[in-house]
Each structure stands twice: as C-alpha cells, then as structure tokens.
C-alpha cells in the first residue's frame, strides 16, 4: 500500500552519502535546484506523517491488541491478541459479528439507494436546466443551498420535519389523508427511510454541481451538428450528453459511493449516539462499539475492515474503468 512509502521523499532528499560525492567531486549530491521540490513538499510530508501515516499505523496496531477501557491510558500494557479482534468481528454466528454483518448489509443498501437516487436527481436537474434561458442561475443557486449549508444545520432541520407530533411530514400526510395515524419516522423500521431521504437531500446537489460542470465541457457545435442531422432533444441527450459525460460520471459515482458508505453525520444528528437498528450505519456502529463499550481494539479492527472494503471497491472500480477505456 502506498501509505508506507511517504517517508521516501525525505530520505531521497539526502541522496547518496557524502563519502560518495567526495570520490566524484564534480557531481554534487546536493543542489538547490534538484532539492527544490523536496523542500517544497517537506512541511506537507511531515504533517502527513503526523496526522495520517502514524495514526494509521497506530490504528492497525490497535486492532491487534486487547485495547479495552482498562488500557486506554496505559496502552503499552494491553495484551497482544493477534487476530482475536478480527475473529470476533467476523464471527457471524456470534452477536458482535452478526451485528457487524447486519450493519454492513444495511450500509450497502443505504449507499446504493442514496448514490443511485442522488445521481439520478443530479442528472435530471442538469439536463432540465440545459439551455434553460433566464432564471437558470437562480434555480441552480437554490439547488446548491443544501450543499452550502453546514451538515448539522440541515440534518437537525430534518429531525424537526420528521418529528411525530409537531413535524411537517406527518402534518402533510394527515392533511392529505394518506395515513390515519401519525407514524414514527425516527424510531423503528421507518428510520431507514428517513436516513436515506435526508442523505439524498444533502448529496444530490453535489452530483448536480459536478454534472452541470461536466456538461459545460461539451462544445455547442456537437449539438448543432447533430441538430442539422435531424437529431431530436432526446437523441441528443442519449448519444451526446450521456456519451461524453461517461468519464465524469464514473468518477462522480465512485466519489459518492466512498463518501456515502462512511456516512456518520446523518444518523448521528438524526438519532443521537445510538441509532435505531434499522439505521445503524457502519461508521455509527463502529463509533458506538468503540465509545460506549470502550473497546478500542475491536473498533479499530472494524475500522480496518471498513478501510479494506473501500480500497477493494476503489480497486475494482479502477480495473473496470481501465477496461472500459481500453475497449472504447
């Protein structure tokens, strides 16, 4: 993995030992010109080591020790447990492994729904606003507001909307006579619907923004030429817009997937630290397992598994993307 190699730039900066350069005095091992890029990235490399590489190594190490509440402040004494934490996490017949598997399946469903619908919304809105004329800028701005809003402000407003007795949603359902009784949206199985809807509300403007920007790259004369050839709007959408957007869409869907799969804000603000079972997304589950029972070893093992899964997804995506590009 690339992570372990960050140390390299700083090491290469020193170049060969001075002893070597003494033997060949004409080839200086250190020149300002050659070392400029290393000096430029040095602060970033040091900081990356401090905030990413070292915590990551510590995190992986934590997953191999029995780091329970007794050892949080004297972690050096926590007993080594080998793959013990992983065995617990992946033992699907045990209660903890079963909960993890359940949470994983739930998160996958949540992610596919959120990404699919957000992408669909973004694409539809971008298409609808193509050659819209006056008012396009205003509508675009309105659509982007959820994206600009701080996450918690948007989600906490939804929490109010979804309240059983004084929320907007149930009032609307009652006014339309769609339900006889006020359903609960933040507990029970409806919580899943709520968390999907709220995260779509936050995600789709980003998809919309990226797709809009991608569409601007397509030159106008492509459309004009096809119009002369007699293509109607739908044919243009299918053959030109969607066709030329494919590379951007591929990147966008991957990004949305990776972000959505680790979503934490929505369940945390909607339900508090302990979400109902139907909305117990993976990051929230790991968070809970770590901070409520203070079992950091198990929490780290689950984080590592989550990371491995995301790497696997990104890797498969890269393979697929390369093959599609080669065939095209």
């Amino acid at each position: 993995m690339a992570m372990t190699q960050t140390g390299r730039p700083t090491q290469t900066m020193g170049g060969p030992r001075p002893a070597v350069s003494a033997a060949k005095p004409r080839r200086k091992w250190f020149t300002w010109r050659k070392s400029t890029p290393y000096l430029l990235i040095l602060p970033a490399v040091l900081l990356e080591l401090l905030i990413h590489v070292i915590p990551m190594i510590v995190g992986i190490w934590m997953s191999f020790i029995e780091l329970t509440q007794f050892f949080i402040t004297n972690w050096g004494e926590a007993p080594f447990s080998g793959l013990g934490n992983y065995e617990i996490a992946l033992d699907f017949s045990g209660p903890l492994g079963w909960q993890l598997l359940r949470s994983f399946g739930l998160t996958l469903a949540f992610t596919l729904l959120t990404v699919g619908i957000s992408f669909g919304f973004g694409m539809s809105a971008a298409l609808a606003l193509q050659r819209f004329g006056r008012g396009r800028g205003l509508i675009r701005t309105l659509f982007l507001i959820p994206y600009a809003l701080p996450a918690y402000a948007g989600i906490i407003t939804w929490k109010f909307v979804l309240q059983r007795d004084n929320g907007l949603l149930n009032e609307l359902l009652m006014n339309l006579h769609l339900t006889g009784d006020r359903p609960f949206w933040l507990i029970g199985s409806n919580a899943f619907v709520s968390v999907v809807v709220v995260s779509i509300w936050q995600q789709w403007p980003f998809a919309f923004l990226m797709i809009m920007a991608g569409m601007q790259v397509i030159p106008d004369d492509v459309y004009e030429a096809s119009a002369i050839d007699g293509a109607n709007t739908w044919q243009q959408v299918r053959h030109i817009t969607l066709g030329m957007m494919r590379p951007i869409n591929a990147v966008l869907v991957l990004l949305l997937f990776l972000w959505t799969f680790r979503e934490f804000n929505t369940p945390f603000v909607l339900f508090g630290p302990t979400p109902p079972e139907s909305a117990n997304l993976l990051t929230a589950h790991i968070y809970n397992s770590s901070f409520i029972t203070w079992n950091f070893g198990l929490g780290s093992a689950m984080s590592v598994l989550l990371m491995l899964f995301l790497i696997l997804v990104a890797g498969l995506w890269a393979l697929w993307n390369r093959r599609v590009n080669r065939d095209a």
């Binding site: 990551m56 701080p150 909307v161 991608g214 680790r262």
Partner: protein, 281 residues
C-alpha cells in the same frame, strides 16, 4: 433549435418536485425560527400565526452559543489557513516538478482522502490522551489545538489535491519565463503563480472552511464544555422534557447564514475551482 414538447414537460416534472424537496426544510427552518415556543410544540403550522424574533435573542442564553461560535471560528480558521499555506508549496511541487517519490506522495494524499474518519479518530484519541498523560497537562485531548490537528486530516489532503489541479491549469510558460529571467522557484511561485491562482486559492480555502465548520465526528469526542464547537453545541437546545425547536431553528439559521451567503457570493469561483480538479481527473 426547437425543443420537443416531451422535453419541455420533462423539464417541469423534474424541476418542480426537486425544488420543493430542496426548499422544504429551508422553509421550515426560517418559519419555525420566527414562532414562539408553544407554536412549535403542537402540530406543525404551515404559516406562523404569531410572529416573534424572541428565539433569536434566547438562543444566546439557553446555551453558550457565542462560546461555541468562537470555538468554531478559531478551529476552522486555523485549520484552513494552516492547510492552505502548506498545500500551496506542496501543490506547486507536484504540479511543476517531476521528482522521485512524487507518485507515492500524491498517492497517499489522494488515498487518505477517501478513508473513513473513524479510522483516524480512534488512534488520534488514544495518542492525544497518552501525550497529555505523559506531559501531565491537557494539550490535545478535548482542546481546540487537538481539534485543529484532527481537522487537518481532511482539510490538508483536500487542499493539496485541489490546488495541484488548479496549478496544472496555469500555463507553464508563465513561471518558466520568469525563472529564465532569473527568478528563483519560490520567486516564480509568489510573483507569477499565486496571483493567477487567486480564484483557486479562494475556492480551496472556502471549501476547507465549509467542511471544517460542518464537521461532527471528531468534534463529538474531542471537545468538552470549554472547547465545544457549533456542530455539537447546537444539539444542546433541549432539556429532559423539552426541545426548544424554535431556538434550534433560529440557531441553525444564524450559523448557516454566513456560510451560505459566502458560498453564494463566491459561487462562480467555487464551481470553477472544484470542477477544475474533478473534470480533469
């Protein structure tokens, strides 16, 4: 060119429901912030029957909102400024030089961006607690300094990645000719690149600010009553029996307005800055 009727129908079938979906919570936020408490406790009122500005006064005393605000400002601005400055140098190197380790470095920067925050939260928590224990004082655990460090975990890689692609869009001839004329690499960066990259730098700074301003995961464990930021503090408008929904909405509005207005004013830069990177990759 004429558009077909079906496309014109599609346009409105898409835009109207999406508009309602997007704006509905915003409508709830604004109108509920103007209602007295009893009116947000009963069934939802579509139109406020008793308008009041009282919640906007009360929000500052129900919880120490001003303190949360100051904490959020300090943490967010520090993380943003620090990561943008470091990113300017690193991105310049990535964009203008081919050197050994370049691929590895940008690989790390890109990959850490997609890793889940919880992966970093647990080790940072542990490291902070133990550093503080070793030093015999609280420097990092649940302090603003500690929170700034954790916020760099996402603002820094993001800033480097976005700025590097922005620098790539600036013609090389510009800084190369400056270097031929005798300017150093740093001179070319400051005199040529930075002035023409101003929109990109503004975009990166605003995005870092926005992400840090809305961050919840780290703030939920790594702040205490003194270092509490808005993202967690906003959830304190409730007692055992009561949630002051009108105040929650008023406070949400107050903490959102500066961000949303800033975003809308700078929208053109931001969209260009963000998509420059994404479209290219």
């Amino acid at each position: 060119m004429r558009e077909q009727l079906s496309f014109r129908i599609f346009r409105w079938v898409v835009l109207i429901p999406l508009g309602l979906f997007t704006l509905m919570p915003l409508y709830v936020m604004v109108t509920s912030a103007l209602k007295p408490l009893p009116d947000v406790q009963g069934p939802f009122e579509w139109w406020p029957s008793n308008l009041t500005l009282r919640p906007f006064v009360d929000i500052w005393t129900t919880v120490p909102l001003a303190e949360y605000f100051v904490n959020s400002l300090i943490v967010t601005i520090s993380a943003t400024v620090f990561s943008v400055i470091i990113a300017i140098f690193a991105s310049y190197a990535i964009s203008r030089y081919r050197f050994r380790g370049r691929g590895a470095f940008s690989g790390v920067v890109l990959s850490t961006q997609m890793f889940p925050g919880v992966l970093f939260l647990l080790p940072l928590f542990l490291v902070f607690v133990n550093i503080d224990k070793a030093l015999g004082d609280t420097f990092l655990y649940q302090t603003r300094l500690g929170l700034i460090v954790t916020y760099l975990t996402f603002t820094l890689p993001f800033s480097i990645w976005m700025l590097a692609s922005y620098f790539d869009g600036i013609p090389r001839d510009l800084d190369e000719s400056a270097q031929v004329d005798g300017a150093s690499a740093i001179g070319a960066l400051f005199r040529i690149i930075l002035p023409s990259a101003r929109p990109g730098i503004v975009a990166v700074a605003v995005y870092s600010f926005m992400t840090a301003w809305g961050e919840i995961l780290f703030a939920s464990q790594l702040t205490n009553s003194e270092s509490r930021t808005l993202s967690i503090g906003l959830q304190n408008y409730s007692t055992e029996v009561n949630v002051y929904w009108n105040q929650v909405m008023a406070a949400s509005l107050v903490v959102s307005v500066p961000i949303v207005v800033g975003f809308l004013i700078l929208q053109r830069y931001l969209v260009a800055g963000l998509t420059a990177g994404a479209v290219k990759s």
